[in-house]
Structure formats: C-alpha cells, structure tokens
C-alpha cells in the first residue's frame, strides 16, 4: 500500500499537458496489459496483452474499448460518459487508481499500460468491481439535507433558502464527488477495516453538515463516531491525491472532526481549521 501512496504522490508533479505533447510524437501504439478473472466460475487471475494503435487524444478507455471491439470482446469493463462525469471507469492504471477516460495514454509515458481492478472492492469480473458496500457506506452517513422544511408543501409560496456565495463555498468542493471509488480504493484504512465508511462517505457527511440549509446533526451517528468511524483515518491523504474531481476528502474528514469536537457549524474556528489543515497538507 505504501508503494501506491508513493506513486500517487508523484501524480501532482509536472505539467501533464506539456509532457503529453512531448511524448506523443514518439509512439503510434502501446501494449495494454489487462487483468482477467471471472470470480464466479473460479477463474484464476491472469493478464492478457493487446497491441493498440494510439493517437494524440487516445485515452486509456479508448484503448480498452478498441481492444474490446476488435481483439477480445469478452473484456469485462464498466464505462459510460467518457468525460469524467459519471465515475464508471475507475481502475488501477499502472498501479494508481484513476479514471480510464480521464487518463491520456501519452501522459503515462509508458509503452506498456497495465489495467487492473480497483483494490478494496470485491471483484466481479476482469476490471469490474462490486460497489455495493461502497454505496451502502455513502447511504449510512445520511447524505441529504436534514431539515423539517426540506419538502416544499405549498406550491404558491415559492422561495429559496438564502445562501451567500461564501456559504456555498463552504461545501461546494466536497460536492464535486462523482462516487467513482478511487479514494476508497486508495485508502490504507479501508484496506484494513471494511467497517470504516471511507473517505467518500465521510466527505459527504461533511458536505451536508457544512451546508447552511442542513439543520440536522450527523456527529452523533454511530457510523461516524465509532472506533471504526472517523477516528480511524490517520490522514495518509492518498484519497485527496487520487480524486479526479479535486475533492479533498482528507480535508473534509478533518473539518468534520472539528465539528465533532464541538466547534459549531458557523464558528469562525472552522475557517481557521480549514486554513491550518491546508497548510499541513502542502508542507
């Protein structure tokens, strides 16, 4: 796991655009190395390799779909929007959890690209993993506005809950989450404790707790304030590094801990804490 974290920390260095422009001239094809196994029939895991032609804009998903269409139609893969909005195509690419559609082949600077299923998820088949537990963790933190006036009743008296742009900013970054599972896969705590809700769910608990429209309380919830809960996070930060949408679950978890240590929701101290933990993370 520490190997993954080291690789992940390398993600943030360098200008990808520049590098990909440089390296693309070199290659016209790559070798895809794809993990294969069908768990239900007791298939033993192995890798198949496929030569795939590439162009400047080819993504790992494009390459995989080429292989599936023209080399081996049985490759098991989950995909949909191909624009990093739907979160379907999370997998380990050269050892790091990424979205296949959001990973340009040329940015990997490698003639061999290895695709494996996300770790910390049960395998279904090939690159496809089971998200049941992951979605259950999300649901367990009550990820919605808790407010007795949340459901509009009178169709004539229409108005919004007033929320300033600054109040929106308190939770907006955490609401970028597309539930792709990359953070969950990268999390060393999830790897050792499946009852730990994981960075995705905890970040969503923060997202709704930090929303001025939410009047409920999640801090007393068993799933969060538990020995398998939020206190298990030891701030490895790999969740935030792999997030393709710029969510910072590690920060969300720290801020939620702040709430739980009885900082009130609108206390100035939240902003101070946010500032403080940002500093920690980058130094």
């Amino acid at each position: 796991m520490s190997g993954i974290i080291k690789k992940i920390s390398m993600l943030r260095t360098g200008s990808k655009l520049e590098r990909s422009k440089k390296s693309l001239r070199a290659r016209s094809s790559i070798v895809l190395r794809v993990y294969r196994a069908n768990k239900a029939i007791g298939d033993s895991a192995h890798y198949d390799t496929f030569d795939v032609p590439i162009q400047r804009w080819t993504t790992v998903l494009d390459a995989l779909l080429y292989a599936k269409s023209y080399k081996d139609t049985s490759i098991g893969i989950r995909y949909s929007c191909r624009m990093a909005s739907c979160g379907s195509c999370g997998m380990k690419i050269n050892g790091i959890p990424r979205l296949a559609c959001y990973t340009n082949v040329s940015e990997l600077e490698s003639g061999v690209i290895s695709c494996e299923p996300l770790t910390n998820f049960p395998l279904i088949r090939d690159l496809v993993t089971d998200f049941h537990q992951f979605f259950s963790h999300h649901k367990s933190v009550r990820p919605y506005i808790i407010n007795q006036n949340a459901d509009l009743r009178d169709r004539k008296e229409l108005s919004e809950f007033i929320q300033s742009p600054r109040e929106v900013d308190e939770y907006l970054q955490s609401s970028y989450c597309i539930k792709c599972g990359l953070c969950y896969s990268a999390c060393p705590t999830v790897a050792t404790d499946t009852k730990f809700p994981g960075p995705q769910a905890l970040a969503q608990a923060y997202r709704y707790s930090a929303d001025t429209r939410d009047t409920g309380s999640r801090e007393d919830m068993k799933t969060i304030d538990d020995k398998h809960g939020i206190w298990r996070c030891h701030f490895a930060g790999s969740c935030s590094s792999v997030c393709p949408k710029g969510v910072d679950p590690a920060l969300g978890i720290q801020l939620l801990r702040g709430h739980m240590m009885s900082f009130s929701k609108h206390n100035k101290k939240i902003a101070e804490l946010k500032h403080h933990s940002h500093g920690n993370q980058t130094t």
Binding site: L17, S20, K21, N38, K39, A40, R56, W57, L65, K68, S69, Y70, T73, S74, G76, R78, Y79, S80, C81, R82, M83, A84, S85, C86, G87, S88, Y102, N104, I124, R125, D126, F131, F135, R142, P143, Y144, I145, N149, A150, D151, L152, L158, E160, F161, I162, Q163, S164, P165, E167, V168, Y171, L172, S175, Y176, C177, I178, K179, Y208, R213, D214
Partner: protein, 570 residues
C-alpha cells in the same frame, strides 16, 4: 422457470427523470414499493453530463414572465410544440428549482444569496438557472442523495431490461438480466415509467455517453407503442474534436464568440439580433454553411470545424463559471480556453422525439408512462431550447411519478398477469436469437458503420437521395451476419449487452431515416435541402412510427392554444 420480483411502480432508468419520478412516487404513497432499474449504476446516467442550466421563470419582479418563456419555447420548437404542454412546463418548473434548492442543490448564487440565472440561446430573458457548469451532475446528486431518505425506493443497479411484459395492452412489467450474475428475471409491476434517455449513440459524432442507446425506446416500440417525431435530432453547435464532448451553450451565454477561418463572427450574417445565442438548429446550420463555403478550419483528425473563442472573457470569469469546460478543453482537446480558441463543430446532442405521450406523460399502453428525453410529450417540437431538457426531466419526472403511484394505489391496478408464453418468446429472442447466434460480421464494426451512415445521411442537412441511400445501407447492415455474442460467460457479459443495444440501434436508426424522408419540409432541426421551407399546410403535425417489418408511419395533430405559427427570426 423464470424468477419474478414484484413491486408497485417500476421505473426504468436512473437519470434525472427516473430519480425525480422515484421520489415523487415514493412520496405520493409511502406504502408503495418503488423500484428503479437501470443498466448502469446510480449516478452514472448521462444526465450527469448536462452542463448549462435549467430554464425557469424566477424573477418576474425584474421583468421575466411565464408568457415569455412559453412563447420562446414554442418559437424555438418551430411551432411543432404542443402549446398546452409548453405552458405546463413553464408553469411547473419554478417549483422544481426551489424544491431542488431545499434538497441541497448547489445553485450558483447572487451576492444577496438568491439563486442566480444566466443567458441561454433562444430566450428573451436570462433564465437558465445554473450551478457552475455542472447543472445535470448536481441535480442528479441532489435527487439521488434525497432518494436515500425514502425506505420504499429500491435500486436495481446494472439490470438490463430487455422487453415489456403486457396483458391486453396493459403494462405488467419487464424482463431483465441482472448483469452481475447473468440471471434472467421478470420484474413485475402494475405501473411503469420509462426514463431511459435519448439515443444519440446512433450517431458517431455525439455528445452522448456510450450508454445512450435506444434500448428503452425500442422496448416500447416492439410492444406496439408509437414513437413520435424521431426525425428531429438536435445538433449542438459546440462539440469538441475528435471526441464530440460537449462545450455548454453557457459558454456562449457567458459571452463566447463563434469565429470562422477569416476571424469573423459569422453569426451576424445569420441571426443579426441574437448572434451566437440564436436557437441551436439555426446556429448549427450557419456553421455547416460556413464550412461548406470554405471558411472552416481543419482539425488535425481531418474533420472540418470552426472555433469557439472565450479568451476575451478573462481567466477569472472562466474559472468561476466555466471551470468544467476549461478542464474538458485541457484534457480532451489540449487547449486551455483561457489562452486560445477551441475547435468545435456541430454534434448530435438531443432527440426531440421519443415515446408518444400525452401532457400527463401517459403512453398508449395502460399503466405505462414515459418521462425525460425518452418521452415525446411534444414540449420541444422540432427544436429544443437549451436548458429546457433538464426542466422537462424534473417536471415530467414528478408528474409521471405521481400518476404512476396513484394508478398503482388504485383498484384498477389490482392484479398482474403475465402469460408464460410471453416470457418464453422473450427468452427465445435474446438467447437463441442473439446470445447463441453465429456469424462472421463483427458487431462492433457494424455499429461503427451504422453510426457513420447516420452522421453522413441524417445530419444537420438532409435530402431525399441521401436518406434513401441511408435506408438502403442500414438495410444491408441489418441483413449481414452480425447477431452473435462471442463472450460465452454468464457474468457481467457486456458483449451480450452491447449486441442487444446494437439490435435496438438498427431499428431506431431506420425510424429516424424514414421519418426524415417522409417529412418533406424544413422545420426546426430537420432541414431538407430539397424542401427548404416550412410547410404548415401539409406538415404542421407530428410523425408517429409503429412496429412492423418496416416502421408504419402515421400522423398526429399539434395542439395549438394561443400562438399562431409565424416565421422564426432571431
């Protein structure tokens, strides 16, 4: 023996319309069991990619009014919209905006904390309610998360529905494959709602997700339900090359220019008043004309294109309001829109047509409704305005959810009866006919050939000769030996799913071509070079297509309430 699972309301599709329908069904009667069945996992539906806005009249005190939104919608539709339906859309959308706000939607705000709105094509007032440039994504998130409050909603993630089960034109449920195990089930319910979205993947150059195939439309069509106005396909002016990924109209709403190779803002010649913010059909036609007249650019992939210039907006405004677009440009086009114009060209984006429904979202089958892009309640007519589709999903998601729940609660819906013969026939169709089929033609290559034909023959401009040729070519593809599945595993067999999708694509492509051929006029998104004028005498009517060896075409009147058709100018 095929196992069955029973529920009260069966919602097929988990996009914006499906989720809105689920919540409204669940809230209408909390004793009902609501099932949401989808071939994708939750939050993967293509609604997450809607970018620009949801149109609604929120600021009457600042000069907006519902009458104006209604008229803009009808004018945008080139007068093919059913006017009562447009009125309903406009009347009901503000409620949805505020309801989403109360459920946690991160609408972009004015400094005073009220919900903000932006300009969008074809509108007389800036009424596209937005949340940065990820409107559909946030709406999906808000609805999915809110749906988790309801104990009576159950999600069937990655179940592929294959056919409708019915009894004397009364909906009884569907047959479906649980992808994880490959097991085949009957999902029974007295009430169903089809919310399977559009079918834009029948084109190669398309903004749609790979999953946007016509499985839901085809299921209804094969069950004898009419598909309406399928020839009206919207080409959005700004798809990036070569992927077809969308740059939101919000980019032009925020002030972006379209320029040709002479550096000219050519829209001034085509829509002197609205310029880049004329309706999408008009802008896309202008772009193709510019390219045809030699004022386009060549993308390095070889495709013709023009450019969208946002550089004058400045880094701050782009980062604040169009951050997603900037990401898309950098990642998928290699262009930072802060620094450089980006290459774009018209791209298949929306289908105005769909399952024939009335203003209540009811289909021609008792107990079956449809909502969102899969449905055609004729709110968009021949051309949809931007930001009116998410509105439609929300409004008719709620309406059909309520209607289906009321129906399922009533005595009319008492018993569900499915003849074993129907299920046997379906097993034969998909397992003998497709799974165990054989042949030499690669179905994936056939899919590519089909979508290339649609790009070439049923694009922004159409004519008799091209459409006839398209039909002949699709016919030839159909009769080739493509119907086979090489992956023999039961579990998570996407090869099998893909071939079933292709089966539906062939039938629906046929309907688009035939509808386009029979509509001998130009209206909205349907532009015939051999019939360049709108013909209200002969074609102010909807096209219907019914299942047969060849689609059987029929016509349906347009509902006109207060607005007589006039010539459209922007």
């Amino acid at each position: 023996m095929v196992d069955s699972i029973s529920q009260d309301v069966l919602i097929i599709g988990s996009g914006l319309a499906g989720l809105r329908a689920a919540i409204s069904s669940a809230a209408t009667n909390e004793k009902l069991e609501i099932a949401v069945v989808s071939k994708v996992q939750v939050m993967r539906s293509h609604s997450v990619s809607a970018e620009g806005g949801t149109a609604a009249v929120l600021f009457e005190e600042e000069g907006d009014n519902q009458e104006s939104h209604i008229y803009d919608t009808i004018k945008g539709s080139d007068f093919l919209a059913d006017q009562d339906v447009a009125e309903r859309l406009v009347h009901d959308t503000p409620y949805e905006i505020y309801q989403l706000d109360h459920w946690g939607m991160p609408w972009s705000r004015r400094n005073d904390g009220r919900i903000d709105q932006r300009n969008f094509g074809g509108y007389s007032f800036p009424r596209a309610t937005y949340a940065q440039d990820k409107v559909g994504f946030y709406e999906m998130q808000t609805l999915y998360d809110t749906s988790l409050r309801f104990d009576n909603i159950r999600f069937y993630n990655e179940w592929f529905c294959t056919s409708i089960l019915s009894d004397e034109n009364s909906f009884q449920g569907v047959t479906a494959i649980e992808m994880k195990t490959g097991n085949f089930f009957k999902l029974l319910a007295p009430a169903g709602i089809i919310c399977t979205g559009g079918a834009g993947r029948i084109y190669s150059f398309s903004t749609y997700a790979y999953s946007s195939t016509p499985d839901g439309l085809d299921m209804a069509y094969r069950a004898g339900i009419g598909l309406k106005d399928m020839e009206f396909v919207q080409f959005h002016p700004t798809g990036i090359l070569p992927s077809g990924i969308l740059i939101t109209e919000g980019a032009r709403g925020e002030g972006g220019y379209l320029v040709n190779s002479e550096g000219e803002r050519f829209m001034k010649k085509y829509a002197p008043e609205k310029l880049e913010l004329a309706s999408r059909d008009i802008v896309s036609r202008a772009m193709i004309r510019e390219i045809q007249q030699g004022r386009g650019f060549k993308h390095e992939s070889g495709a013709d294109c023009l450019k969208l210039d946002l550089t004058h907006l400045g880094a701050d405004r782009i980062k604040e309001r169009l951050a997603g677009i900037r990401d898309i440009g950098i990642k998928f086009s290699g262009v930072d829109v802060i620094d450089d114009p980006i290459e774009i060209t018209p791209v298949c984006h929306y289908m105005m047509g769909g399952i024939h429904t009335n203003i209540e979202g009811a289909s021609e089958m008792r107990g079956l409704w449809a909502a969102g892009e899969a449905a055609c309640n004729s709110v968009h007519g021949a051309n949809r305005l931007g930001a009116n589709s998410t509105s439609e999903c929300l409004v008719w998601g709620r309406i059909t959810g309520e209607n289906a729940a009321r129906y399922a609660s009533s005595s009319k819906a008492a018993s569900v009866a499915v003849s074993p013969q129907q299920v046997l026939e379906e097993e034969k169709r998909i397992y003998d006919g497709i799974f165990r089929g054989s042949g030499e033609v690669n179905p994936y290559q056939l899919r590519r050939d089909l979508t290339d034909i649609m790009d070439a023959k049923a694009h922004v401009f159409r004519d008799e000769e091209g459409l006839q040729e398209g039909l002949r070519k699709v016919m030839a593809l159909k009769s080739s030996s493509w119907k086979h599945v090489d992956d023999k595993a039961k579990e998570y067999n996407t090869n099998f799913i893909n071939v079933m999708e292709i089966d539906s694509m062939l039938r629906i492509a046929d309907i688009v071509l035939m509808g386009a051929l029979s509509r001998q006029e130009s209206r909205g998104a349907h532009a015939r070079t051999d019939y360049p004028r709108r013909d209200d005498v002969n074609f102010l009517k909807h096209t219907l297509a019914y299942y047969g060896m060849q689609p059987k075409l029929a016509w349906h009147p347009v509902t006109i309430t207060r607005y007589a058709p006039t010539e459209r100018k922007y």
